[in-house]
Symmetry: C2
DNA sequence: TATATTCTGGACGGAACGGTTCGGAATATC
DNA sequence: GATATTCCGAACCGTTCCGTCCAGAATATA
């Protein structure tokens, strides 16, 4: 009957996200998007609706991929503090790679648009909540197993970790030195003990 | 001889900064700027050069004002930890005010443009360095007076504080709850002891 | 082969944008 | 009053932007 879809929607979404991630929402043009996605403007509008709809979809796509990624790391059979330190170090390391110095997508979206764009803001908040949840279960386990102090409740500590990670990534956008960022990671992780 | 300037350059700069601060660079049009500054487009170009030049000038203006502000707080005759806690709490409190939920200007600039705009990036980095310097002298004093632990060197701790403050402000852009942010402040400040 | 669907490229409209220029009004000093 | 400077409004240019639309090529099934 009909000609089938030729491009992978999920992959096109990932490509669009990468462009938004690197350039921000406003600074990204339709040409940038369709070029990276490898499809025509017409197909983009047919499939995703509009630039703004596409943008919202990329945030949801990011949440989908990152959630599985973090909660995967959470189930690693190692002390919770070690897992957390590894997650932070990996984030710092990624900031040092040549074309990856773009921080956390949710972070960027929160700063650039979340105040004026409530639809995006809602999704960003949900994404940060899910990050918090991932850290929360890690902290709980660490407190159970004894390598994380119980002087603060795990919910606050999870929020502390999300906040700290975001702060480190922002610093990484301005400074370049990996060593300086790792110093901050050390102090942050030590604050858990 | 000549007609004198009718508008205050420094004040116009402050108004422009406020617009950039709320909307970001790309999302701010010349009309937004001249409207807020209360001058015509011609005067703007005569005085500041271009939109981009004006933007760079606002970053420098921000550094000028904030530097004096923080180093003023640094000389308050109170335990360093108390001063730091007060600075953080004030930042959180400002995020809760209706039209002030826009974080730190340097933070916003770092996220939105510093990677692609090296001229802006340089200024942002310099501004963050000066914030670090202000915290550095505070930490040094705290370590001398005994209310801040000496297990970490003061330079790293200063960086930790700048990073944490930025992280908290990013969280504040997504979430709204002051209580949650203050929880994070508590853990952060406790990490100093 | 006929049919249905997908995809492309380009054309188009309408709007907003950054930036430049200029005439003339306003305001100071001499 | 003559002069010099500032300021404004408006016009203007070329570009970019988002979004819509369509003709036609491509590709599947029946």
């Amino acid at each position: 009957m009909a000609r089938p879809k030729e491009f992978d929607v999920e992959q096109a979404l990932a490509s669009a996200m990468n462009v938004f991630w690197s350039n921000g929402y406003k600074a990204t043009s339709l040409g940038d998007l369709t070029g990276a996605m490898g499809i025509s403007k017409s197909s983009m509008y047919e499939t995703f609706g509009s630039k703004h709809d596409l943008f919202l979809s990329t945030i949801e796509h990011y949440i989908r991929t990152v959630t599985t990624q973090i909660s995967g790391a959470a189930h690693i059979d190692a002390p919770a503090v070690k897992v957390i330190r590894a997650l932070f170090h990996r984030a710092v390391q990624r900031m040092a790679e040549p074309n990856s110095r773009r921080g956390c997508y949710l972070n960027n979206c929160a700063v650039e648009v979340s105040v004026r764009d409530s639809e995006a803001g809602q999704r960003v908040e949900k994404g940060l909540d899910m990050m918090e949840e991932a850290f929360f279960s890690l902290v709980q386990r660490g407190q159970r197993e004894g390598d994380i102090s119980t002087r603060h409740d795990p919910r606050s500590m999870a929020r502390f970790l999300v906040s700290s990670l975001n702060g480190i990534l922002v610093m990484g956008k301005a400074h370049a030195s990996t060593d300086k960022l790792n110093d901050v990671v050390d102090i942050t992780v030590n604050a858990l003990a």
